[in-house]
């Protein structure tokens, strides 16, 4: 069944009918937008899981409430509010809320929803004390709210494909021709959940459609009884008959019969009652708290209920086959779909492989030989985007206009020039660890507040100061942000515009590679437990090592070694490279700068080479880097394409910069990506989720 079939029926569906009956003001909103907004209250394991299942079924889950956890997003798209009031300010037209809190706290949540006059409230919890249920019921009646539960599996509307609760997708709507669904059919209301599956299965096997399945709850006291629900359902024109599934215990069925006798005009359509518990013993609770025959009571027994219902003309059945016969008779033999369609749907549903539970990132698309940041090819950024522009793009999804960009640049300069923390750093620690240590202790960043983009710029600017200090470089008193970064990296005011441009390009090439690089993973993990951005980015930066992100430096050292060997032995650089590669292979060492787990032709390679040529900065190392793939293939016997680290290493070598500059470039450039991933995680994911990084799905531009 296509989910798209749902929305067309929403306006004229049973749920809209119920909601408008209760809140006539919703009518205007529903006809305009055609969407019934539902909400979820309580995001424990059950609430989170079922919010997703409800949405996958087709229900428009517009908002969630999780006291104490506002301003987050559930399943990457459902806004989470800390209170009912906060949610209603943003979503005043919520028509249905399902409550997923535990029995000890669910009563207060339900009362809040009822008093907020949300027309339909579904209370899932089992085990709510009777006195609490009594208060809830009284409040629901006073506030004209249809309260389903406590202890209900929920409500589901198959034609609209909307549900609030945990009923599975086993109920079939009318389908006059394949793929066309309508809201006509039978409405079921029941005290129990699992029995509904068998009931609807039997009806569907005979082509009888359901337009609504409403669980009133299995407890002795529930918010709405059959007598509250059935007249509302019967006033819906597309409901042709109503089935009530009752059971022993209490007197909901007896009261229903009494109401039918007193006000027959409220019950104009045929009713079939399926009663369970004909053979149940007295005095023993049968699973449901409400399903017990009180010893000595003159109500609650199967016989009492059957007699009462039959005396007002309700057909009472006690078996699946009799139910089908009785409903068929009530409908005058009418059917609503071909049962083969139902069986095929169930088969697809049940045979379908379990859905991949992926999660979304929208920052960088990483595919073989493709790198797109927020829809912009990384090559374009290498060809002339400043680090500030790149950062803003990653966080906000677009490069800001010129004015905004220069404002951010000014902020970056102002922040970069503040002194880094005064502390003694371990001498032999890698540059990444030193920069991270300074960053973690950075007072200006800890104190910073601003928009997300400003926060990201602050992160990069302070990392710039930390990188400068860990390299022993001093930043000038002024200058634009690009110049400050260049100085941080090379130590002296970079007056050479070509070098500045090249460094800026390398920074752009380093900003991000999706969620899988270890530094991004480390940052995201810290973000998932809501560490500060400072701690999370320091964490990610510490994960930049000789194994991850250090290849540029080793590649630079490799090219320098090749050129040195070439000079020493007076052999062509190619030959020297071949010799060194063979030696390294014999030692079992990895060859840095070669090969990539994703790309066979690194998209960052050519723009960097071209830029180096254009700026007249390509020398013998860059020339050698162009031949390296071929040399390596000869030596290694397999194709090992040069990667971005190889190209960066070669450029660093040709610029006469120390190899460590390559590492520093990576640390500074990647801080922008880490900031972006941090912000994405806290804005779109639940705290402390279990993260499988292989399950990330890119859903950006």
């Amino acid at each position: 069944m296509s989910t798209s079939s749902g929305s067309e029926h929403v306006k004229d569906g049973l749920l809209a009918h119920l909601a408008i009956q209760l809140r006539p003001s919703l009518a205007k909103y529903l006809t305009k937008g055609g969407v019934i907004e539902t909400a979820v209250y309580g995001l424990g394991q059950q609430g989170r899981r079922h919010a997703l299942l409800m949405r996958e079924y087709g229900a428009p889950v517009a908002a969630a409430i999780h006291p104490g956890h506002g301003a987050a997003v559930l399943h990457e798209s459902i806004p989470v509010y800390a209170s009912m009031a906060e949610m209603l300010r943003a979503h005043p037209h919520i028509a249905v809320v399902s409550i997923w809190k535990h029995f000890a706290t669910a009563t207060d949540a339900a009362l809040e929803a009822i008093e907020a006059r949300i027309p339909i409230v579904v209370l899932i919890a089992e085990g709510i004390p009777v006195q609490d249920a009594q208060r809830l019921r009284a409040a629901a009646h006073r506030c004209n709210v249809l309260l389903f539960g406590p202890n209900t599996p929920g409500i589901i509307f198959p034609p609209e494909r909307i549900k609030a609760g945990m009923l599975p997708d086993v109920f079939y709507p009318a389908e006059p021709e394949p793929g066309v669904f309508t809201s006509e059919g039978v409405t079921i209301t029941s005290r129990s959940g699992a029995i509904l599956y068998h009931l609807s299965d039997a009806l569907a096997a005979s082509g009888i459609a359901l337009n609504g399945v409403l669980g009133i709850g299995g407890d002795a006291v529930v918010g709405s009884d059959f007598v509250d629900v059935v007249p509302r359902v019967m006033s819906y024109p597309n409901t042709h008959a109503v089935v009530i599934a009752g059971e022993i215990g209490g007197c909901k069925e007896e009261l229903f019969a009494e109401a039918m006798r007193a006000q027959p005009e409220r019950f104009p359509k045929p009713v079939v009652a399926l009663l369970s518990g004909r053979c149940a013993p007295t005095g023993k609770t049968m699973g449901h708290a409400g399903a017990i025959i009180a010893p000595g009571a003159n109500y609650g027994t199967y016989a009492a209920k059957k007699t009462a219902l039959e005396s007002v003309g309700v057909t009472v059945v006690n078996s699946q086959t009799d139910l089908v016969k009785a409903v068929k008779k009530a409908l005058g033999g009418r059917t609503y779909f071909d049962p083969a369609r139902y069986r095929a749907h169930m088969k697809t549903l049940w045979e379908e492989p379990p859905r991949k539970t992926g999660w979304t990132t929208s920052i960088t698309r990483v595919e073989p030989n493709v790198l797109m940041v927020r829809g912009v090819p990384l090559q374009d950024l290498i060809n002339g985007a400043s680090l500030v522009a790149c950062t803003a793009l990653m966080i906000e999804g677009a490069i800001p206009d010129k004015r905004a960009c220069s404002k951010l640049e000014a902020l970056g300069c102002e922040l970069a020039l503040l002194p880094a923390a005064r502390m003694t750093l371990p001498k032999d620690a890698p540059i990444s660890q030193r920069a991270a240590t300074l960053f973690l202790a950075d007072a200006p960043f800890a104190a910073f507040t601003g928009t997300d983009a400003e926060w990201g710029i602050a992160c990069v600017a302070r990392m710039c100061a930390c990188v400068a200090k860990s390299l022993g470089h001093t930043l000038p008193d002024s200058g634009d942000f690009g110049a400050l970064c260049a100085t941080a990296l090379v130590g002296k005011p970079a007056r050479d515009p070509a070098l500045r441009k090249l460094l800026e390009a390398i920074l752009a090439a380093s900003i991000d590679h999706g969620v899988t690089p270890p530094s991004a993973q480390a940052t995201i993990l810290a973000a998932s437990v809501r560490a500060t951005m400072q701690a999370a980015v320091a964490n990610g930066t510490c994960a930049i090592t000789h194994v991850h992100g250090g290849a540029g430096r080793e590649a630079a050292e490799f090219f320098l070694a090749c050129l040195e060997r070439s000079r020493r032995d007076a052999i062509p650089p190619r030959e020297a490279a071949e010799l060194i590669l063979r030696e390294r292979m014999a030692e079992g060492r990895r060859i840095e700068g070669l090969g990539h787990r994703v790309h066979t032709e690194d998209p960052r390679r050519d723009p960097l080479w071209r830029l180096a040529d254009k700026l007249h900065r390509s020398g013998p190392a860059v020339a050698l880097s162009r031949d390296l793939e071929e040399i390596a293939t000869t030596v290694r016997g397999m194709r090992l394409p040069i990667n971005v680290d190889g190209v960066i290493g070669a450029i660093i070598a040709d610029c006469g910069l120390p190899p460590i500059t390559a590492s520093a470039l990576f640390v500074l450039g990647r801080s922008a990506g880490l900031a972006a991933h941090y912000i994405e995680e806290i804005r779109t994911q639940q705290p402390m989720r279990q993260i499988d990084f292989r399950q990330a799905v890119y859903r950006g531009k």
Binding site: F103, A104, G127, P129, V130, Q131, D132, A133, Q134, R135, L167, P168, V170, S190, S192, G193, A194, I195, L196, Y197, H198, D201, A202, A205, G218, D219, A220, V221, A245, E247, C251, L255, L274, S276, G277, R278, C279, A280, P281, T282, G283, K284, T285, M286, G287, H288, P295, G296, Y299, N318, S319, Q320, T321, D322, R343, M346, K347, W350, P353, P354
Partner: protein, 427 residues
């Protein structure tokens, strides 16, 4: 959860009611004789079902020699089929006048009702029939345990018409307020004093009935520990061994036949392993209905069972083991309609149970049923592989996979086939 009389009285004492002197509870004569008694003494059966007076569950002992006989008789009584395990010994009090006082959850209004009767000590339903104007009924507020002024005025008007003594009227009105307060405070669904006796100037609760809301036990730990109750107890009757075993394993189970039921010839006993409470109740009816159409008075369902949502593999295994251990079971009808619960876990538990029983030589009977729903492909693959690996233990498992036929048909086929086979064996 129903309280025994002596527990209900402790609850009332906490609420400020006077009681006849409570000497103690005894489970045999020697224990009763050790109590510091002052005669005359009432000996009262402690059972959770009503009607004990008529069934010989209450005796008055005027002196020590009469005590033995009274305790012996009461302990030997059977009250609506239930054995008496303990007796309460309390002072017999002179009764000047008896009243009825009760607060009960009202299934019609879903609120709570206060009932005051001018004739205590008799069945309240009977009093309502015989002398309706001797009863006062009022619906109680749901926000707190205080009687509203209007209700108090009505009550006082009613009492003024039926009770002459002004202090007694005042005491009765106060007792109503106390009872309601206790009802709310202790999360009762029924709190009843019958009779509330006028003995001298004061009122005394001579008998008491209390039912606590099972769902609220979690917030009544103070009361429960004062009463010495460890947790949720059984309903009216003591749980059977199988019911205890199920409760230990974490699922609901009810025996439908007495624990000592003997096999009757011409009967075919059906064990049930369905899913969900509602279908658990309904499947008992289905077996009777469908069975009755196959052969009248032949098929006897043995049990109610409810796995609860999403049972573990171990729980499923134990569910089958429990019913396979039932000495009467001839066939098992099972259904798995996996909505929330997984077919895969279900079939793994079922197969593990059958394999274990084959290995230990435990009894196995034919199992018929249907399995559809969540994780069906994995469940089907598991079952097919299991059949290849261990065909022997699974020979009696007849499971329809998928919903080509509705469950009622699966039950009909299962019952017919099982009866045919067992009769073939007899021949």
């Amino acid at each position: 959860m129903r309280l025994y009389e002596y527990e209900a009285k402790q609850l009332l004492a906490r609420a400020g009611f006077s009681l006849p002197v409570q000497y103690g509870v005894a489970d045999r004569i020697a224990a009763a004789e050790k109590l510091p008694l002052q005669f005359p003494v009432m000996v009262k059966a402690q059972v959770l079902i009503g009607g004990r007076g008529k069934a010989g569950g209450i005796r008055k002992a005027e002196n020590k020699s009469a005590l033995r006989g009274a305790v012996k008789e009461v302990l030997a009584a059977r009250i609506s089929g239930h054995a008496v395990e303990r007796v309460l010994l309390e002072a017999a009090v002179p009764i000047e006048r008896a009243f009825y006082l009760g607060v009960a959850m009202n299934p019609v209004t879903c609120g709570n009702t206060l009932i005051v009767g001018l004739d205590g000590g008799v069945d309240i339903e009977e009093a309502a029939r015989k002398r309706p104007d001797s009863l006062f009924r009022a619906e109680l507020p749901l926000d707190g345990g205080t009687l509203p002024p209007a209700l108090r005025r009505d009550l006082e008007r009613f009492l003024a018409a039926g009770v002459e003594s002004k202090p007694v009227r005042a005491a009765l009105a106060e007792a109503c307020a106390q009872l309601f307060q206790a009802f709310v405070k202790y999360d009762c669904t029924l709190l009843e004093i019958n009779p509330l006796v006028q003995s001298g100037p004061g009122l005394m609760a001579a008998d008491a009935k209390a039912v606590l809301d099972n769902n609220a036990l979690y917030r009544q730990s103070e009361l429960l520990s004062a009463l010495g109750i460890a947790g949720k107890r059984h309903d009216v009757s003591e749980p059977t061994a199988r019911e205890q075993r199920a409760s230990k394993a974490g699922f609901a189970y009810v025996d439908l036949l007495p624990e000592d039921a003997q096999r009757e010839s011409g009967r075919h006993y059906v064990g049930l392993v369905p899913g969900g409470a509602g279908y658990g109740i309904f499947s008992i009816d289905e077996v009777q209905n469908i069975g009755g159409r196959i052969r009248k008075h032949c098929f006897v369902p043995l049990n109610f069972m409810d796995s609860g949502g999403g049972p573990t593999r171990e729980a499923v295994k134990e569910m089958f083991a429990l019913i396979l251990d039932h000495p009467l079971v001839d066939v098992i009808v099972t259904s798995r309609f996996g909505g929330i619960s997984s077919c895969d876990i279900y079939i793994q538990g079922l197969v593990a149970c059958l394999r274990e029983r084959a290995a230990t030589g435990a009894r196995v009977v034919p199992i018929h049923g249907r399995m559809v729903g969540t994780d069906l492909p994995a469940a089907r693959a598991f079952l097919e592989q299991a059949r290849q690996q261990t065909p022997g233990p699974l020979a009696q498992l007849h499971l329809a996979v998928g919903n080509e036929r509705i469950m009622a048909e699966a039950i009909r086929e299962g019952l017919t086939e099982s009866l045919r086979q067992s009769e073939g064996a007899w021949r």
